[in-house]
């Protein structure tokens, strides 16, 4: 009786072990979901409870030998109650639960990952429910059905969801932990199978034997090697940029502010609410503002985006920056001001915040700039701004306002893409633009009027978005500009900047949207030190005028960008057609223009940057010869490696065919082995022959499963008999003479017949991956081929040695 109870206990322990391993593996895989939310700890802790509920229920139910369906039902019941409890504090899926779930679905649809967590916004319920389902599925496959390999499917699904939804890779250790758990499940299943051999007479299914330590050690070693290989091999593959794992800093979940897609991130950060110090600058500039992070120069139907960048290795953020294009000296003068920048640890950006324009910069890491946009991009995957210190020299422009006002726009310098718009852009946008700029005589005047339209005359009000998913596509812009629309003429910086950028382009003025910080509003105890906070994130517009370069306009209304705080000429009203910009000349600090080079307005290409362009071309922005060569060499190597076994085998065959009976015999043996036949070792030639003829197939048989037998190839059988006869005479008679190569045709006939008796797949493997190449040569062969006494000499044998 006690032994039965002992077995019962052992069975329960086995079930518990299995269930716990399944739940733990799923939980480990759920770690990959932590990028979905900013508070990943919460749902992971909740899932521990759910996992325990599912595992314990499953283990007990299986121990009681309930049918599989009942096990799943019990798990769904108990796990579901636990899920409801941890989500809505009630043990049933009531209204609160449903509300929270639908809110979570809304939040997931609205926000990009990671979804911020607040009292009203949370995707946690969704993640917990998803985790619960995954746990039940994995437990069903692994423990209830005892089909651990099947459990890989739900695990893979869990793991691949974030890969498809979050751009950045996943941590390698999450993969390693999941893989380890999966292998552990496999091990447990196989261990159970093995230990059931010789079960006890009372019919108990509990294992009565444990695996030996050495078997366990082998299993652990194999599992560890497999996991390590799976983690390391993708990292080591050089030509593929695809990476499942991001070995760099983790993403999401800890409240950091990230800038990857500037516009999307800006939107999220604006609704974030809490104010965080992000960038601290120390400078002599009395009122630093407009610290630019990135430039968006491509407008599609849906959004402004960063577009393409050319960042050759020569464009490192170390030292001087080449002069800007399209800038004329008399029109613009530059004042150089030094900045010392410290970026907070929470601010992770792939773009480097700089003044625009700058003349000099020194930042650690592989930061590179694009000559056209003059923004700085991390070209190393692991590089971001968190905790970065760097210095730069800003070139603050001062414009000759009277001349500025007479400028007309052209896109010949900056390229047509700066005025590109979608073909199906609603005509209303252009109509609004024409209406707002009526009466202007130059493009610059139109730009100023357009700016005024947003800030003053258009009746726009500043309103922070409640819905961060809004976006600034064509349709939203029409809504935004329509005074009669429900949300018309109210918005925030992104919409203003986007709208003005698009409208300027409809007027033929090259335009782009800049994203960055508006004005340092953070507290700083030190003198000449200013702090940009998360509240200062902002977007504005840059318009290009030949001679003046890219001129900054900030169309956001005064309630956000107040006239007093930002003494920019953009905020000044321009009376009707004649703008009064003379008074603001000292304050107008328009980024993006730098005129040191004389030949500014030459319209073709980049006349002031000949050397830089040339350098850039040499170092990689043009055709990447080195890469192509490396790839070609790699491919060549792969091809050679693929061809190597085949050619080695061919040479081996030729050498053997030119030899005597022993060589011929060795060739037959090698061919048979290549075709997956087990060549009898230590048998006489005749015995071997009797076996080999059974492998012969009809030459020319293309059947998938060809027949084989001695009747199908009588010629080959006769040839084989000749070879065997010569071999026997060579080995066992007093004296035998064979001309080298005399058996060539016979051997080839036999080889063909052997190949004809194998399936096409085996034949292909024998051709491309002959196993006999890797096998040690027999002593008889070594002796035969090694002495190299010349192929012309016949084999003289007295049953003792074969002389070639």
């Amino acid at each position: 009786m006690s032994s039965v109870r002992q077995r019962d206990r052992a069975a329960l322990a086995s079930h518990v072990r299995f269930s716990a391993a399944a739940a733990a593996t799923t939980w480990a895989a759920m770690w990959s979901w932590r990028g979905f939310t900013t508070m990943s700890g919460r749902f992971l802790v909740a899932l521990i409870l759910v996992g325990v509920a599912v595992a314990v229920t499953g283990a007990v139910a299986r121990w009681r030998r309930l049918p599989g369906v009942l096990v799943v039902v019990a798990q769904l019941a108990v796990g579901g109650v636990t899920t409801c409890l941890v989500v809505s504090s009630r043990p049933y899926p009531g209204d609160a639960f449903r509300t929270m779930l639908s809110d979570a679905v809304d939040a997931a649809n609205t926000y990009a990952s990671p979804v911020p967590t607040s009292d009203t916004i949370s995707v946690q319920p969704l993640l917990v429910v998803g985790g619960f389902i995954a746990m039940v599925l994995v437990d069903l496959c692994a423990a209830t059905l005892r089909r651990v390999p099947l459990a890989g499917l739900p695990l893979l699904t869990v793991y691949s969801v974030p890969i498809s939804l979050i751009d950045r890779g996943l941590s390698w250790w999450v993969f390693a932990a999941t893989a380890t758990g999966f292998l552990l499940l496999l091990f447990l299943q196989e261990e159970e199978h093995l230990s059931r051999w010789g079960r006890s007479l009372d019919g108990s299914t509990a294992p009565i034997r444990r695996l030996s330590d050495s078997v366990r050690a082998s299993a652990v070693a194999i599992g560890a090697i497999a996991t390590a290989a799976a983690v390391l091999v993708p990292l080591a593959v050089p030509t593929l940029s695809f990476s499942v794992f991001d070995v760099g800093p983790g993403n999401g979940g800890d409240g950091d502010i990230e800038v990857t897609n500037p516009m999307v991130d800006l939107r999220q950060d604006l609704v974030r609410g809490d104010k965080t110090d992000l960038v601290t600058v120390t400078t002599d500039d009395p009122s630093p503002d407009h610290l630019r992070i990135s430039v968006l120069n491509r407008f599609t139907d849906n959004e402004w985006s960063a577009g393409d960048r050319k960042v050759p290795t020569a464009n490192l953020a170390q030292g001087g920056i080449p002069p800007l294009e399209g800038v004329e000296a008399p029109l613009v003068s530059l004042d150089e001001v030094d900045y010392q920048v410290e970026v907070a640890d929470q601010f992770k950006s792939r773009w480097l915040p700089t003044q625009a324009p700058i003349s000099d910069i020194s930042a650690d890491g592989d930061w590179r700039y694009d000559v056209a946009t003059m923004d700085f991009l991390a070209s190393d995957d692991d590089l971001d701004t968190a905790g970065l210190d760097y210095s730069m020299t800003a070139a603050l422009p001062t414009y000759d306002d009277s001349r500025l006002l007479q400028l007309n726009a052209t896109d010949t310098v900056v390229g047509e893409e700066m005025t590109e718009l979608p073909d199906d852009l609603p005509a209303e946008i252009r109509n609004y633009a024409i209406e707002a700029t009526s009466g202007a005589t130059s493009d610059f005047q139109r730009a100023v009027l357009l700016n005024q339209f947003f800030r003053e005359t258009g009746g726009f009000t500043y309103k922070l978005p409640t819905d961060p998913g809004g976006g600034v596509g064509s349709d939203q812009l029409v809504d935004f500009l329509d005074p009669d629309s429900k949300t018309g003429r109210q918005g925030y910086c992104e919409q203003y900047a986007a709208a003005m950028g698009v409208m300027a382009r409809t007027l033929g003025i090259p335009a782009r949207v800049a994203v960055g910080f508006l004005k340092p509003t953070g507290e700083s105890s030190r003198e000449n030190t200013y702090v940009y906070t998360s509240d200062d994130l902002h977007a504005w517009v840059e318009l290009f005028f030949p001679g003046a370069g890219w001129v900054l306009f900030d169309p956001t209304p005064a309630s956000r960008v107040s006239n007093a705080e930002v003494p920019s000429y953009a905020e000044r009203p321009i009376d009707n057609v004649i703008p009064t910009t003379t008074a603001q000349s000292e304050e107008t600090r328009e980024p993006t223009t730098r005129p040191t080079a004389p030949s500014a307005s030459v319209p073709t290409g980049r006349p002031d940057l000949p050397e830089t362009t040339a350098d850039a071309g040499d170092t990689g922005s043009s055709f990447p010869w080195l890469t192509v060569l490396a790839v070609a060499a790699g491919l060549l190597l792969v091809v050679l490696l693929l061809l190597l076994p085949r050619s080695l085998r061919r040479r081996q065959r030729e050498r053997r065919l030119a030899g005597g009976p022993e060589s011929a015999w060795a060739e037959l043996r090698a061919t048979a082995r290549d075709l997956g036949r087990t060549w009898p070792e230590g048998r006489s030639p005749r015995e071997t022959r009797d076996l080999v003829v059974g492998w012969f197939g009809h030459v020319g048989d293309t059947d998938e499963r060809p027949a084989h037998g001695p009747d199908l190839a009588p010629d080959a059988v006769a040839a084989l008999d000749r070879v065997v006869d010569h071999l026997e005479r060579l080995r066992y008679s007093r004296r035998h003479t064979v001309e080298p190569g005399a058996l060539r045709d016979d051997v080839l006939l036999c080889c063909d017949a052997l190949a004809a008796g194998a399936t096409p797949r085996v034949r292909r493997r024998a051709t491309w991956l002959p196993v006999s190449v890797a096998q040690r040569r027999r002593p008889s062969e070594l002796e035969g081929a090694g002495s190299g006494a010349g192929a012309g000499e016949p084999e003289l044998v007295g049953g003792r040695s074969e002389v070639l």
Partner: protein, 345 residues
């Protein structure tokens, strides 16, 4: 090249004669080519043959057919418990006329001696035959009489009847080159036998197709058959394995090794070869070795016969590479031990 053509001419002669004898015998013994072959091999190898089988399958018929096919002296000795050694070897009788002892040769003085039911004779009589078989001479009253070549003893014995029989001791069994069992004929052969043996006596119709002199010549041809070192190594490895395996308490003797090689040579010659193949050795290992081996108690308890143990050894001992590669390891079924350690004292 002359030697080669001379040798091949000899082999052709041999093949022709052997073929004639075989056809002759097969007129009487139907459907048993393997047994006939073994008998011929033993004849050419100058050995003695032990035919062991149940009564009535043609043991004596085979012996007689072989004997009659050769034009030579044939004697048949029916072994009974009261048979005396002198009946086998011969006896010296006092001649009243010459007042001298004169030797009356016994049954053994013939080219082919058929010993029927040899296990019925007393050990003393059996051992009288021993000397003749091995030494091919008879010593009576201090006089030694040579036996004429060819000399072949074909003994039959019945393994079923144990009462009143004296099983051949190991030493005596060892002197027989081969032991064959005829076995029951297959259905077709038995019907054919009914046809041929009901209406006539085929044995009486047999005529000699060769004579003793030719057989002597053929034996000398067999002696010229070449045994390569590889084959020698193989044979020694085989017999060595029988001595090492735990399944046998008595392995093959050196005489067995010798007999095996000689039989293999004869077989090779019959096949028209002047060199021995491993296959010759393998084919003859069972008839030549099996009757000399004694299975261990454990092997006997598990129902293994000497034949099956021998098959396992044959499968386990690799054919040596002709280049004198590493000596064949002992087969897995025959773990190494001190040679002969399991021999009976």
């Amino acid at each position: 090249m002359e030697t080669t053509s001379a040798a091949s001419a000899d082999l052709e002669t041999l093949a022709r004669v052997v073929g004639a004898i075989r056809r002759n015998i097969e007129r009487v013994i139907e459907g048993k080519p393997d047994v006939v072959q073994s008998a011929l091999v033993v004849l050419l190898a100058e050995g003695h043959l032990l035919i062991e089988d149940v009564p009535g399958v043609g043991k004596t018929m085979l012996s007689k057919a072989l004997a009659r096919s050769i034009d030579c002296s044939v004697r048949r000795i029916q072994f009974t418990p009261d048979l005396l050694p002198s009946d086998v070897t011969g006896v010296s009788i006092f001649n009243q006329n010459t007042r001298e002892f004169e030797f009356r040769p016994g049954g053994v003085f013939a080219n082919i001696v058929v010993g029927d039911e040899i296990n019925r004779a007393s050990p003393k009589t059996q051992s009288a035959l021993l000397e003749c078989m091995e030494e091919r001479q008879v010593t009576v009253d201090n006089n030694t009489y040579e036996l004429e070549a060819p000399f072949m003893v074909i003994a039959t014995q019945n393994p079923i009847e144990m009462e009143g029989t004296y099983a051949l001791p190991e030493a005596q069994r060892d002197r027989f080159m081969a032991r064959v069992s005829i076995g029951y004929p297959v259905e077709a052969a038995e019907i054919a036998m009914l046809n041929s043996h009901t209406y006539s006596r085929p044995l009486d119709d047999l005529e000699a197709v060769t004579d003793a002199g030719e057989i002597r010549k053929l034996s000398s041809i067999v002696n010229q058959v070449y045994v390569s070192p590889a084959i020698q190594q193989y044979v020694v490895a085989l017999t060595g394995a029988t001595r090492r395996t735990d399944d046998l308490v008595l392995g093959a003797s050196p005489r067995a090794t010798l007999h095996l090689v000689r039989a293999a040579k004869a077989h090779a010659a019959i096949q028209g070869r002047d060199y021995v193949l491993p296959d010759d050795v393998q084919l003859l290992a069972r008839p030549v070795l099996a009757h000399r081996l004694l299975p261990s108690v454990e092997a006997a308890m598990t129902g293994r016969t000497t034949a099956s143990i021998l098959d396992a050894i044959l499968a386990g001992v690799p054919v040596p590479s002709p280049q004198g590669g590493p000596t064949a390891p002992p087969p897995s079924s025959a773990p190494a031990g001190p040679p002969g350690s399991r021999h009976r004292a």
